[in-house]
Amino acid sequence: MKNKRSLFAVPYVIWMALFVVIPIVIMLVYSLTVSVTTGEGEAIQFSFENFTGMGAYVTVFARSFWLAIVATLVCLLIGYPVSYWMAKEGPGFQRVAMALIMLPMWMNFLLRTYSWMSILENNGLLNQLFQKIGLIALYNDLTGQNIEYFQMIRTPGAVVLGMVYNYLPFMILPIYSVLSKMDQSLIEAAQDLGAGTADVFRRVTLPLSLPGVLSGVTMVFVPSVSTFAISRLLGGGTNMMLGDLIENQFLGGAYNPHLGAAISMVMMVIVLICMLVMNHFGEGEEQAVML
C-alpha cells in the first residue's frame, strides 16, 4: 500500500531533482570558478575570487535587505488589520474581500508594475492630479521652492510601494486563513475570564495567529529580497537591488555568470539564515496550531 502511494510522488521527485537540485549544483560549480582568457582561448579555473570580491556589492546587499524588510513590515502593518477585519465579518463579505484581494493577481506582474510607472511618473497620473488640485502650487508657496512635480518614481519609496502592492496578498492570505479558523470559543473563554478587547487580542488572538504571520512574512520577504523588475521599473537606475545585479551578470552588459552565481549563493544563504532564525521563534506556536 505504502509503496504504491509513494509511486505518485515519483514525478515530483524527478522534477525537483531536474529543476531544483541540479541547477543549484550547477550554480555552485559556477560560483566557484572563473573564466580566464589564455593564449589558447577561454579556460575555466577553480577560484574563490567571486566570493572574495563580494565586498564591492555590500551596498546592494544592504539596500536589498533593507527595502525587503521595510516592504515586509508595511505588508504586515496593512495585512494584519485587513485579515483581522475580514475574519470578523460574515461569509458574504469574506468572499467579496477575497475576490478583491486576488483580482490584481489575475493580471500579469509586469503589467501591474508598468501601470504603477505611469501613475508615479513625473508627468504621470498622480502628479497631474496634484497639479489640478493645486497641491504642487501650495507646496511651492509654502516652501518657497519652484518644482513642477513631486519626485516619486526612481525613489526607494516607489520600490517599496511596488513590492507591497505585488506581495500584499501573500501576507493577507495566510494570516486570514489562521484567523478565520481560530476557535471562537477561545476568544469567548478569554472574555469570560475577564479579558477586555485589547487583552483578548494581545494574549490570545495574536499569539495564536503567529504561524500565519510567520508564513506571510516568509512569503513576502523572500521574493522581495530577490525582486528585479520592480526595482528596475520603479526604482530607475539609482536603486539597484540584488535581483538586478544578478540579472545583469547573466543577461545584461556586465556578463559574468560566475559572479552572478556567487551572488545568488550568498543571497540564498542569508535568506536561509533569516528563515531559520524566524522559524526558531515560531516553533512553540506552530505546535499550538496543530491542535
Binding site: G90, D183, Q184, S185, L186, E188, A189, A190, Q191, D192, L193, G194, A195, G196, D199, R203, V204, P207, L208, G284, E285, Q287, A288, V289, M290, L291
Partner: protein, 397 residues
C-alpha cells in the same frame, strides 16, 4: 440558601422569526446546583449564554443580585464558564491557562468621596502562584502545571477548564455540557467531583446537560426545557415523581403515558377500569394523561390483575427484565425481576402512589407508548446521537 442571585424575567431570544427562547422566567438561588435539562435545540445553551453575557436577550431582563446586567459584557460579570469543548488556550501550559483570569487583574470596589469606584488591580505574582496551585490541588492536577494542555487527556483537560474558571472565585459557575466528551466511567467520577467542588466552594453552579441521569444525580433544582420554554422547575424528586406534562414524564426516565379520565378526586379511569390514585383537584370527567413508571407495576397472575395483557418482548438488563406487555393494543414497558416468557398472559397491579395524573398538554399523545420500543430504546441508549448536541441558534450571528 434561599437568597435569589440571578433572575431571568420574560426573556425572549429570537433570530428574525426564529424564536429560540420564548418568554423565560427563571429564578436562581445563591449556592444552588441548578441544571438546565432538555434535548438539542431546547434553548438551554442559549439561556446559559445569556447569563454568561455572550448573548443579549431580544427582550426581557437579566438581573444579577437585583441589578440589571443585560448590557454588561462577559469580562465584567462575576460569572465564569466551563465551555463545552473546554476551550483551553493551546499556546499556554496548564499553569498559565489557570492563571489567565488572575493575570487579568482583580476588580476592587473602593469608596472615594462617597462614590463607588471600580478599579482593576494587578494581582501579585506570589498570590497568583498560590491560588493556581491551590486550585490545581482541588481538581487533582498537582504536578501537571508545566505540561502543555495539548498533552492532557480529555478528563485532565476538563479539570483544567474547571480550575481555570474557579480560580477567579466567581459567584456563579456556568457549565455547558462539560462531561459530554468523556467516557461513561469518567463521567460518573466527574459528577461526584463537581458536586464536591460545588459544596466545597459554596458557589452557584448552573449546569447544562441533555443527560437526565446526570441532572437527577447532581442537582438541587432541575429546569426541564423544550421548544424554548421551561416545562418544569423542581427538585429531582419532584421532576421524576410529579412530572407536569407528557414531555417531562418521557424525558426524565421511562414512562408509560396512557389516556385516562378523572372520574373523581383520587379515582382515574384507564381502559375502562377505575384505579385508585392520590391526585386531586381535577374536573369531574376531565380527560388526562396518566403516567405509570415501569418499576411501579407489579406483575401478578392473570386472574388477580387489574389489567390483563400479553408479553410481546423481554430484554434482560442485569438488575431487571424490560418486559413489553400489550394491553388492548397499547404497549407498556414494565421493569420487573420476575421473568415472564414472550406470549404469556399476565395481569398487573398498580398501587395508588404508582399512578400520576397530569393535565392534557400539547405533548399529549406524543410520548409514552412502547409500540416502537426497540427503536426508541436504541436512540435513548445511543450516546453518539446525543453527543451531537449543538444548538445552531445559540451560535452568535
Amino acid at each position: 440558601m434561599s437568597k435569589e442571585l440571578i433572575r431571568l424575567s420574560d426573556c425572549v431570544m429570537a433570530y428574525d422569526d426564529d424564536v429560540v427562547l420564548d418568554r423565560i422566567d427563571l429564578s436562581i438561588q445563591d449556592k444552588e446546583f441548578l441544571t438546565l435539562l432538555g434535548p438539542s435545540g431546547c434553548g438551554k445553551t442559549t439561556t446559559l449564554r445569556i447569563i454568561g453575557g455572550f448573548l443579549t436577550p431580544t427582550s426581557g431582563d437579566v438581573l444579577f443580585d437585583g441589578k440589571r446586567i443585560n448590557d454588561v459584557p462577559p469580562h465584567k460579570r462575576m460569572v465564569n464558564t466551563v465551555f463545552q469543548r473546554y476551550a483551553l488556550f493551546p499556546h499556554l501550559n496548564v499553569f498559565e491557562n489557570v492563571a489567565f483570569g488572575l493575570r487579568m487583574g482583580q476588580t476592587v470596589v473602593e469608596q472615594e468621596n462617597g462614590q463607588e469606584v471600580r478599579r482593576k488591580v494587578k494581582i501579585p505574582e506570589e498570590e497568583i502562584h498560590s491560588r493556581v496551585m491551590e486550585m490545581l490541588e482541588i481538581v487533582n492536577l498537582k504536578g501537571f502545571e508545566r505540561r502543555p494542555v495539548t498533552a492532557l487527556s480529555g478528563g485532565q483537560q476538563q479539570r483544567v477548564a474547571i480550575a481555570r474558571a474557579l480560580v477567579n472565585r466567581p459567584k456563579v459557575l456556568l457549565l455547558d455540557e462539560p462531561l459530554g466528551a468523556l467516557d461513561m466511567r469518567l463521567r460518573k467520577d466527574m459528577q461526584q467531583e463537581l458536586k464536591r467542588i460545588q459544596q466545597e466552594m459554596e458557589i452557584t453552579f448552573i449546569y447544562v446537560t441533555h443527560d437526565q441521569e446526570e441532572a437527577l444525580a447532581m442537582s438541587d433544582t432541575v429546569v426541564v426545557m423544550d421548544g424554548g420554554r421551561i416545562q418544569q422547575v423542581g427538585s429531582p424528586e419532584d421532576i421524576y415523581n410529579e412530572p407536569k406534562n407528557a414531555f417531562v414524564a418521557d424525558f426524565i426516565g421511562e414512562s408509560n403515558i396512557i389516556d385516562g379520565i378523572m372520574r373523581a378526586d383520587g379515582v382515574v379511569e384507564i381502559f375502562n377500569r377505575r384505579f385508585q390514585c392520590l391526585d386531586k383537584g381535577f374536573d369531574r370527567d376531565e380527560p388526562v394523561d396518566v403516567v405509570i413508571r415501569p418499576e411501579d407495576v407489579d406483575i401478578v397472575s392473570e386472574a388477580e390483575g387489574q389489567l390483563k395483557g400479553t408479553v410481546t418482548a423481554v430484554t434482560f438488563k442485569g438488575v431487571h427484565y424490560d418486559t413489553i406487555v400489550d394491553f388492548y393494543g397499547f404497549k407498556w414497558l414494565i421493569q420487573t425481576t420476575d421473568f415472564c416468557p414472550v406470549g404469556s398472559h399476565i395481569g398487573i397491579k398498580i398501587d395508588p402512589d404508582g399512578i400520576h395524573v397530569m393535565k392534557k398538554s400539547q405533548y399529549s399523545g406524543m410520548f409514552g407508548d412502547y409500540s416502537s420500543y426497540s427503536e426508541e430504546y436504541d436512540e435513548i441508549n445511543d450516546p453518539t446521537l446525543l453527543d451531537e448536541e449543538e444548538e445552531g441558534a445559540g451560535d452568535e450571528e
